[in-house]
Symmetry: C2
Subunit: 210 residues, 2 copies
Amino acid sequence: MGKDKVSLTVVRRLPRYYHYLNELLEQGVNKISSKELSERMGITASQIRQDLNCFGGFGQQGYGYNVKILRDEIIQILSLDKKQDAVMAGAGNLGRAVANHIDFESKGFRLVGVFDTNPQIIGREVGGLVVQDITELPDFTKKSKPVVGILSVPGNEVVDVAEEMVSLGIRAFWNFTGKDMVMPNVIFENVHLGDSLMTLRYRIENDTDE
Amino acid sequence: MGKDKVSLTVVRRLPRYYHYLNELLEQGVNKISSKELSERMGITASQIRQDLNCFGGFGQQGYGYNVKILRDEIIQILSLDKKQDAVMAGAGNLGRAVANHIDFESKGFRLVGVFDTNPQIIGREVGGLVVQDITELPDFTKKSKPVVGILSVPGNEVVDVAEEMVSLGIRAFWNFTGKDMVMPNVIFENVHLGDSLMTLRYRIENDTDE
């Protein structure tokens, strides 16, 4: 909508601002300086000013940020207020955990279908939806036109499942399989849970050395 | 071990280098220029040089990086080769997904115990371990001295569980509850799965606008 493109590194920090600003609002805090926000978040104040300036800047020198306005701006920047439909392939432990724990609505999505191949899982309720046979996916997709596929199938199935979904018109994926996916004109948000565990390993070693 | 402290932003990128370098090794690629690595990873070549220079730099001008040496250096920087013991509290869908999907050993940890309060879950096998009653945690911790706690309990229990674990000597946590935890002299690696979903929402909106 006329906004300049912002680096993905900055975009990836916005959800953190969003969490902190929500917490502040819950605590009844209405304005905050970049210095205070910086201390809470462990990011330098100049980084914060720089990040928020990418989107036009919302602070006033000597006044700070209006918490609610800034939070609402982040919602708009990320388009969290415009919901899109998502379908999930794979309702094993990982899929069930994602479907049950993630609040899709607050993140700009609606989970509208969950699919699996396992007869013992099909028909069970996951994330408020009845798991359907994956063979129903083409018909479902033609009717519902979901925008996003959530990939929580085993890693060796991800290429086939993603290709099928792309052939059905899905162009964006949230990929939990641990296998980095790249396809032309398709967006893959690849989740590597283990990356944060590696970071924790580093932090333990380097904090205990201090 | 005498290394200067590196910013956590850089450390958080190291697992991505690690994945790509492993893939290259599997493909039989032994050396790579920062330009090629940059194209594969979607990071600028100058960012790559800057990142790796934080750790002393491993490239030679006009030659590139030796893939195996660089991969092994990253293992050492992150201390992935020195395993530490971890216990998990909470073996619901999320805990089971984490225990079953994460290769702890390759990330510098060993999962040595899984605990829950639910009689229907206690006694089941999760991640190769039999789930124990959480009342066993103090005895277990005294004997095994785990370094890390994995928090996959419901969000409203996380403060109590973390405080108990800290009282038992655990000083680092991998926290999946979605509730940001901060305690003095305790390391929390807080995982927000939803953050990557928000990023995906942004990417969809801004790529379709192009």
